[in-house]
């Protein structure tokens, strides 16, 4: 992929910092994402991965740092409500616990953002929603409520909700961590398809197999700082730092067992 020098820079975050009650959770994170990148954000729990992702979509307000997105540059701490709304319209966020709208059907979950937030016509929104749901294999459950679906099905609908918005970038926050083991595969396979279509994705995950086989870049965090970042192949075969080497080794050892 690196041979294509003309690839568009999609997102660049610089010096992202965040404190919770005086505790530094992010200590100046830099991150560059180009169009079509699938970046796996890895690291032990408490390393700040999820907070980073949430700061990029303003679910948490960062204390410092800048965000360049789609040709626009914004101070994270100073973004206005309008900035936030404009940026979010170009992104999709998939949560660990799905967060489907509990009072809406599968179809309504996908169309609500299109009709209410983007003013799309109802029939047009429906058409687009059905296409997105077909893609994740959920078009046969249009009228079901979230409570009637398995976790894996809910997460696939959540992905369809993102897809329908035709985002520039997909944020995934540990999308399989809340799932029963036998349901993880169906969600990962949908994500794999998205990656193969060349969609830009930023994925916080503990699924090392997925990170290794699907992602193009890795960002390895610990204690709110970047320990290593670079192409996935390099990270898993030739980790640059002692810390990432031992992380990779512990994971490989885990898989052996």
């Amino acid at each position: 992929m690196s041979e294509n020098a003309s690839r568009r820079m999609m997102l660049r975050a610089e010096g992202v910092t965040k404190r919770f009650d005086g505790r530094e959770v992010l200590r100046g994170i830099d991150l560059t994402v180009e169009q079509g990148d699938v970046v796996a954000i890895l690291g032990p729990s408490g390393s700040g991965k999820t907070t980073l992702l949430r700061c990029l979509n303003f679910l948490e307000r960062a204390d410092g740092g800048t965000l360049e997105f789609d040709g626009e540059r914004i101070e994270l701490a100073r973004a206005t409500g309008k900035d936030v709304a404009r940026l979010r319209r170009k992104t999709a966020f998939v949560f660990q616990n799905y967060n489907l709208f509990l009072n809406k059907t599968v179809l309504q979950n996908v169309t609500l953002g299109l009709t209410a937030a983007r003013g799309m016509r109802r029939d047009e929104a429906r058409e687009r929603a059905v296409r997105a749901l077909e893609k994740v294999g959920m078009a046969q459950r249009l009228d079901s409520y979230p409570a009637q679906l398995s976790g894996g099905q809910q997460q696939r609908v959540a992905i369809a909700r993102g897809l329908a918005a035709q985002p520039e970038i997909f944020y995934f926050d540990e999308p399989t961590s809340a799932l029963d083991p036998e349901l993880i595969g169906e969600v990962l396979s949908v994500m794999r398809t998205l990656a193969e279509e060349g969609r830009t994705m930023l994925v916080v995950t503990h699924e090392m197999g997925f990170a290794r086989s699907v992602s193009s870049k890795v960002l390895f965090l610990e204690d709110g700082a970047v320990v290593e970042s670079g192409p996935t192949a390099d990270f898993f075969t030739r980790p640059k730092t002692q810390r990432s080497r031992s992380f990779v080794e512990s994971i490989l050892a885990e898989r052996e067992r």
């Binding site: 679910l59 967060n99 709208f101 509990l102 009072n103 809406k104 609500l112 209410a116 937030a117 409570a147």
Partner: protein
Amino acid sequence: MLEAIGAFFAQMFSSRVWGILVDSFPRLLGYFLRVSIPLTLLSFLLALVISVAVAMIQYAQVPVLRQICRFYIWVVRGTPLLVQLYMVFYGLPSLGVMLDAFPCAVLVFGFNEGAYMAESMRGALEAVPRGQLEAGACVGLRYLQIMRHIVLPQAFRIAFPALSNSLISMVKGTSLAASVTVMEMFRQAQVINGRLHESLGLYAEVALIYLLFCTLLTFLQRRGEKRLSRFGGVK
């Protein structure tokens, strides 16, 4: 005790009392349907509007308005309904504010129950998972859209039993309007009693009409809850 119960029925079914009850029933029921129920529904509607507004102001932590809402709840919940009725109906005219009995009752009942319902609604709003708001924001909805499409519908479902409770309590509470000259069922019973002197029978009849209507509401509440549960539980 048993003797008292026996005496009660003996008196109720004496032909004189029975005749009074049968004669007065259509009249009492008429006042119930034409006055008590409209009074209840209007007051409840007002209480609902107040409670949603007050709960949302607190939920969204709107400065100043929020303190005003807390003050309103504090005062209204801390003073007796009957005293509030008297103050507004008999007291306010001395400040030049003169209200007819019926609208005065609607206002007092609405503001009174509104304070209790606001607390039910606030609790329900806070019970809607935070992630629902975040997901709404991420699909591009503005705050009020999130409230309207996602949070409020879920909060209403959570608050439904508590709101039903308020409605049922309000049905009976409307009998207090008799004390500020609203000619509703209870006051009508007092009028009839003034002529015929049959307190026990007449007031028991009034109680029975309240009971029957509240039974109907309880039944509707159960049906409503069943319907709402089709959408699945709130996690």
